[in-house]
Amino acid sequence: MDNMQQQFLEAGTLMLAGMVFVFAFLSILIVFINTVLAKLAIKYPDPVAKAVSRTARKSPSNKTSGEISPSVVAAISGAVKKYRAQHGQD
């Protein structure tokens, strides 16, 4: 049982050291966000006009934003035609 007590001690130390370290690490990260990032955010604000293009960029598509492949355009005008024909609207 001596061995187990030894192991318990080790596990306890690990638990303590681990939690202290995790909290310390993530706390420094908080400081980092509140100081460095906050300053950067003020110094380099997002250009307003870019907001739209950024949204497009994040889209899962592989294509460069803005480019619409010719096949899609073809598909669309075809579909529009079809849709109108089916719905009798003109």
């Binding site: 596990a11 939690m19 993530l26 706390s27 990032l37 870019k50 950024r54």
Partner: protein, 376 residues
């Protein structure tokens, strides 16, 4: 005649061992969970399939020259596959909610108590005859409490490869069970009033913050915990590719084709460790039990930490979002949102819970680094 006899001797029926049959049933069970119950199917489906293949008699999938042998040693044993998955996850992760509300990092820290308490528990289980966990084994098991699949696989492949199969099964199963495990704990530790707390809207986060954040995280990891840099580094690389906005085609590939290819192989490779000798023993029961305990403790510590912070903070914090600190992205955040809506139909916690949720990913990668540094 000789030919027919050779054929018979080469059939599975003539060569089955009992343990192999049981492990195939385990594999079928994983497939059932993946397909019918939607338990983390992206990993559990190939993993269940891999565990069937590896237990086929005569076929030798996991022996030298077998497909699963190549996959395991090229990608899982080296750690390459979990690291590539982590890169893809980084490319999928938006740290906006965390940067907007940085104190939620403490929730991600608190939830890691699930890991370290389980480490203690695993050593305690050694009192039971038949269980014999070394400190390395205990560490690999404890990481299940981190609720992060690739982290668990990476650590287990380094510290306790023979337990890898059971640990992966436990980690992914409990991650899938988050919507069942967490709500009772969350409700037990909070009262109606707390669950009704609405939180202030998050401020917008600028592009420069999102770009510098992964670099800052990497830098701190380099300074304080180099053992965690493989995991944290690949994660930050993925996130930097995403946020930099200059390598969208790489970011897209990391999030889609590459992570898909690697996921198939990782699942098969991990499944190949589900052999009868490695899985069919009392220690597996211990691992499954400890995993459930780890999740519960992690959830509870997250919620309790959030309660404390709510008391101390000027702006209100709904304690429910503490539960998301275990990671299990984005399931845990959705659970927090759902429980919050039950108490107050106008209370949308999803974005607020994303902060602790992604903090939990960082927290468990840090915890894995600590275990590697001290035990590995």
């Amino acid at each position: 005649m000789e030919s027919l006899n050779t054929l018979w001797l080469s059939t599975g029926l003539a060569n089955f061992e009992f343990g192999q049959v049981v492990m195939m049933l385990v594999g079928c069970g994983l497939l059932y969970l993946a397909i019918a119950r939607n338990f983390e199917p992206l990993l559990l489906l190939p993993m269940g399939f891999g565990s069937i293949l590896t237990n086929i008699p005569v076929a030798g999938f996991s022996e030298v020259g077998g497909l699963l042998h190549y996959i395991y040693y090229a990608g899982v044993d080296t750690g390459i596959f979990p690291l590539l998955i982590f890169m893809g996850v980084g490319a999928m992760t938006d740290f906006g909610a965390l940067i907007a509300n940085p104190k939620t990092l403490l929730l991600g820290a608190a939830a890691q108590f699930g890991i370290f308490a389980t480490l203690f528990g695993a050593i305690a289980l050694n009192a039971i005859p038949g269980m014999e966990f070394s400190l390395k084994d205990a560490s690999a098991i404890a990481i299940i409490g981190g609720a992060d699949g690739p982290t668990a696989i990476f650590l287990a492949s380094k510290l306790a490869p023979e337990l890898l199969g059971a640990i992966a099964v436990a980690a992914y199963s409990y991650m899938a069970l988050v919507p069942i495990i967490q709500p009772p704990i969350m409700k037990a530790l909070t009262n109606e009033e707390e669950r009704k707390i609405e939180m202030a809207q998050l401020r917008p986060v600028t592009k420069i913050e999102k770009i510098v954040f992964p670099l800052g995280v990497l830098l701190m990891t380099i300074f304080f915990l180099p053992a965690a840099t493989p995991l944290v580094g690949m994660f930050c690389l993925g996130n930097l590719m995403r946020e930099s906005g200059v390598v969208d085609r790489l970011s897209s590939t990391a999030q889609n084709e590459l992570i898909n290819i690697v996921t198939i192989f990782l699942g098969l490779g991990v499944g190949s460790k589900l052999s009868a000798e490695a899985f069919l023993n009392v220690e597996t029961l211990g691992i499954l039990g400890l995993g459930a305990v780890a999740f519960s403790i992690g959830t509870a510590s997250g919620v309790l930490m959030a309660k404390v912070m709510n008391k101390l903070s000027k702006t209100p914090i709904n304690p429910l979002i503490g539960a998301a600190g275990v990671s299990a992205v984005p399931m845990a955040a959705r659970v927090a949102n759902k429980v919050g809506l039950q108490a107050n139909p106008h209370n949308f916690l999803l974005m607020h819970a994303m902060g602790p949720n992604v903090a939990g990913v960082l927290g468990s990668a840090v915890a894995a680094g600590i275990l590697l540094a001290l035990v590995g």
